[in-house]
Amino acid sequence: MIKKTNKKAFPCGLTRRELTWQMGNGFSGLALTSLLSGSGFFDDNLIASDETLLPKPSHFKTSAKSCIFLTMNGGPSQVDTFDYKPELQKYAGKTLPEDKKYINSGGRGVGYLTPNWRPFQPGGESGILISDYFPHVRKHADKLAVVRSCHADSHAHGSALVQMNTGMPLIGRPSLGSWVTYGLGNQNDSLPAYVVMLDKRGGPISGMPNWSSGFMPATFQGTLFRPTGSPILDLQGPEVFSGEAQRNQLDFLDHLNHVHFQSRDKPEELAARIQNYELAYRMQSEAPEAVELSDESSHTLEAYGIGKTSTDEFGKNCLIARRLVERGVRFIQLYSGGGHLEETWDAHESIEKNHGQHGLEVDQPIAALLDDLDQRGLLDETLVVWGGEFGRMPFSEGKDAPGRNHNPYGFSMWMAGGGVKGGTVYGETDEFGFEAVVDKVHVHDIHATILHLMGMDHELLTYFHQGRKESLTDVHGRIINEIIA
């Protein structure tokens, strides 16, 4: 039973940890807290008292066990992808009305309202309108819940992406994947619970804070994963110390450590470290296996576009994401776009050129992923999220300028699988596609919904830090019930 009292307005309430401190952290305190938790007293901190990676029960039963977050780094244009605005034809060449206020990010040129660069067509039975930048994804329209009314707080890539990942445009907070991992733990010893795969062209602006665990222990931070060979840092050492030589080393080490352990009164921490070496040894063989695609059928490889220049990289990442889901990894984030400007979805120069390229790279792989998950019966337990850190302006950057500037006031994201009601459209932007106006969805709401779909209450999933109960959504966040099946 979940108690729904003492929430929001009081983010600094008492947790088990605080009570333990107040009780003196001693025997009586511990005994009392376990007594209280046994009686259900701590239900509102069901999860958050455990800092290990052991699998933990969720707040409530849901179907999603894993999440794949497809991050379109740079900010795709909503009016060119998932938010059709026929009115822009009518207004083409005019400027955005003056009562529409916005910050002109980077002080770039302000041009004229420009209609979608590629046509939209309805997909599936639901008939959701999706542009020709995503013809393959369109076939899966009935799996998607498109949210057209997203908005965020920052117009700059660095802080906007940090917000999409951590809830706040200020760096230093734990990322969504850290919260999920903290809340649910790991299901597979041999792989990290939270995996991040970057675009080969580079990392996102503002780097590591995007997958940091912030003030939580590093146990919950994202692990960068590479699509070939040795996927995790330090998974392989020098060749000469591999195989039998390494096994010898580990046996020798184990002997030394056991003697040491006996002579030091057997502290738990030392026992854990001894075990971790065996775990590390296992990971060395099992983690590469997760990225070893040779046992996939040629049909599958082809479906993901692996082997085709444009789709090879993202296709591999998507396929690996599916393999990681199969192995119980909780949170997988794939970046499309890395580095700066046109290497990302940051289409200042030309929507057609930029989105033409990046859309081509990801469209077929994403469609294949949805299809593959579905066919393997994994889609129900896998939440797939698609989106960038913000959207783009409905107007150009100057006369005959084919690009668009940043726009955090209105943009589209979609979710699929994992308990999402497919074939749904939620929220609206104004007639220009400039700002969200109907059923507005803030980043906090996206986060609250993701946590909910994974069985966690965003108000109850808290971490006590510096005198305050911190949470991903702080005092905000509304679950978008309309897109939940």
């Binding site: 107040q22 952290n25 890539h157 760096i171 970057l198 912030g214 995790i232 050492g237 030589a245 080490l253």
Partner: protein
């Protein structure tokens, strides 16, 4: 039966604590004037030092006997790691063991406190507290030019035993003190050592984020208070009304808080600061524009004007902030804030700092929440000892070295890991809150890296100057958005310097350091998380840095020892600062031979096999954990 009532009593009291949305009043213990407590009299021992008297009287009450004193070989390692962060050589250990002078330990302590490596070790503790890193974070993560001079200033301050009140004053108001110098202005770099957003959404709103950052670092570092929580509303738990937040924030309102040129990174330019190549802070207003209290902390909801002032929770120190003298260019607000903090009557300043010192030496603070002494703090394990130390600290001229020396000379500090009665005591005090034994501690990231370099003979002890960039695996650099310009490794020799001189870049903390819980530096960190995770084992097993250390050590040993067993013997001495027992030598030798036969096809099989032994020893818990 009686016991049942006691349990029930505790239960009821705690339920009351839980349910009565309690808030600390002005009578909360940490806000009370510190009164020198009487030193407890012990039943079982005479002539106990005051620290031991406080600790042992609690043990006596619980019928617990402390652990016997640690063996000298373990004690000397402990004190080396705690004071200078480096291992003693085998020879130093031997000469200490054989030194029969009853003052041998004290002499050792004095020597280590005099060592310039002391400052390198202790400055690093301080950098956590003041959320120090060398770049801005956000869009460009640029290096803050010359911020390393602040790092060197802190190291020097610890080495020269600058009194703590001066240490506070210079960091807060080094430009406003009576005789400012370039050095004291460098100290104000503390205020700018945090993140700085080079492209904030709304530069005018961002001013208030910067205020929050400065209020947060100053109030947690010096006062152990979470004043930041009062930006939006009265503090939920501590008697800090919202207006107090703004009274404190007003001290920073007179500086370059307005958005300026991006190249100035939110600080004064050379002309305003009065110095070139200094990354410091100063006021640009003698009387700054008014600061309004913001409803719900929202920059768009200005309410009334707040006058600068001190926290109201210690009534007798709550004096009005005066206008600066006529000839002053600055507002004198930070100066007066510093005076408030360092007033010997301030009940928090000394308590908070002695608690930090205690924590670094003993593994945990008397108050386990070093950055929070309010209602949400941990109950002090030894409140009277805390007060006694605080009084001694102030009366001893705020001398950090004196305080450290006093603690490490105590029997409590010197006791061993193993208590003969530990099975029974675990029933009473499983967390060793009462300090009936020494807790084993894992090396932190810096000590680990520095020690690896030291035992392999690679450590470059050059002090000060610009930070070095270590080599990173190519796959690590993939995380950068600007791959080519982001990271240029320093010349190899510089990369062998101590970790305190390693660049700390907010977009990419060196993975090896991060794996061992190097903190993310966006917010003040009072005590680091200590995790035991598999990525640490992977790094120790496979990282090239460790393999280079083992190989270098093996190479030196081979050059100096013809006999394999002798070389192995020497490896133990180097790595553990002790000689191996004969069975230990046997098993090493066995490993050596096994590996040698695997490597037999190679012409350097002997070197590789010895390197393998070194590598295992460096991975061992005996190396990684401090007794």
């Amino acid at each position: 039966m009686r016991r049942c009532f006691v349990v029930l009593g505790i239960f009821i009291i705690s339920i009351n604590i839980l349910l009565s949305e309690e808030k600390a009043g002005l009578d909360w213990w940490s806000f009370q004037k510190i009164i020198r407590p009487e030193i407890p009299k012990l039943e079982n021992s005479f002539n106990a030092k005051p620290i031991d008297a406080f600790i042992r009287s609690e043990l006596e009450k619980n019928n617990i006997k402390p652990s016997p004193v640690s063996s000298p070989d373990r004690l000397i390692k402990r004190i080396y790691y705690d004071l200078v962060g480096l291992p003693p050589s085998y020879e130093s250990v031997q000469s200490f063991i054989n030194d029969k002078d009853i003052y041998a330990y004290e002499k050792l302590v004095d020597d280590l406190l005099d060592s310039s490596h002391f400052g390198e070790r202790w400055a690093r503790h301080w950098f956590d507290v003041v959320r120090y890193a060398e770049t801005n974070g956000y869009e460009r993560d640029e290096v803050k030019p010359n911020i390393w001079k602040y790092r060197d200033w802190v190291i020097k301050a610890f080495n020269s035993n600058m009194s703590y009140d001066q240490f506070v004053k210079e960091q807060l108001a080094g430009d406003e003190i009576d005789e400012p110098t370039e050095s004291s202005v460098i100290a104000t770099g503390m205020l700018r050592a945090g993140t700085w957003n080079d492209e904030p959404n709304d530069p005018h709103e961002y001013k208030y984020e910067r205020l929050e950052d400065m209020v947060d670092v100053v109030s947690t570092a010096f006062l152990g208070l979470t004043v930041r929580c009062a930006r939006c509303h009265d503090h939920k738990f501590d008697p800090i009304p919202q207006v107090d937040y703004y009274r404190m924030a007003a001290a920073f309102w007179a500086g370059t808080i307005d958005p300026g040129s991006r190249s100035d990174m939110g600080g004064p330019n050379d002309k305003q600061l009065g110095y070139e190549k200094v990354f410091g802070w100063t006021d640009i207003h003698r009387i700054p524009p008014p600061l309004h209290l913001l409803k719900n902390g929202d920059p768009h909801k200005k309410t009334f004007i707040v006058k600068p002032g001190n926290l109201s929770l210690v009534a007798h120190l709550n004096r009005p902030i005066m206008d600066p003298p006529k000839n002053s260019k600055t507002s004198w607000r930070r100066r007066q804030l510093a005076e408030y903090i360092t007033n010997s009557d301030n009940p928090l300043t000394a308590r908070v700092m002695v608690n930090r010192i205690w924590q670094h030496l003993m593994g945990k603070g008397i108050v386990a929440t070093p950055n929070n002494f309010g209602l949400k703090s941990a109950i002090p394990s030894h409140p009277e000892l805390l007060d006694w130390l605080a009084i001694e600290f102030v009366e001893g001229g705020w001398s950090i070295k004196r305080m450290i020396k006093m603690i490490v000379l105590s029997e409590t500090y010197k006791q061993g890991l193993i208590n003969p009665s530990s099975n029974e005591i675990m029933q009473i005090d499983p967390d060793n809150r009462l300090l009936w034994k020494r807790d084993i501690r894992r090396m932190d990231a810096e000590v680990l890296r520095d020690s690896l370099l030291e035992v392999s003979g690679d450590l470059n002890l050059k002090m000060g100057g610009e930070s070095f960039y270590p080599d990173l695996a190519p796959e690590v650099l993939e995380g950068f958005s600007r791959k080519s310009s982001a990271w240029a490794p320093s010349p190899h020799k510089d990369q062998l310097r101590r970790s305190v001189y390693m660049i700390s870049k907010r977009h990419l903390l060196v993975p090896f350091m991060k794996a061992f819980d190097f903190p993310s530096s966006e917010k003040p960190c009072g005590n680091r998380n200590i995790t035991t995770v598999v990525s640490q084992s992977l790094a120790m097993l496979n990282n090239q840095f460790i393999h280079s250390r083992s190989l270098n050590l093996a190479r030196t040993l081979i050059e100096t020892h013809e006999e394999d067993r002798e070389a192995m013997f020497a490896a133990w001495k180097k790595i553990f600062s002790r000689a191996p027992e004969s069975d230990e030598l046997d098993v090493s030798f066995k490993h050596f031979q096994k590996q040698k036969s695997i490597f037999s096809g190679k012409d350097n099989a002997r070197l590789l096999a010895l390197s393998s032994v070194c590598h295992v020893l460096l991975n061992s818990n005996e190396f990684l954990y401090i007794d």
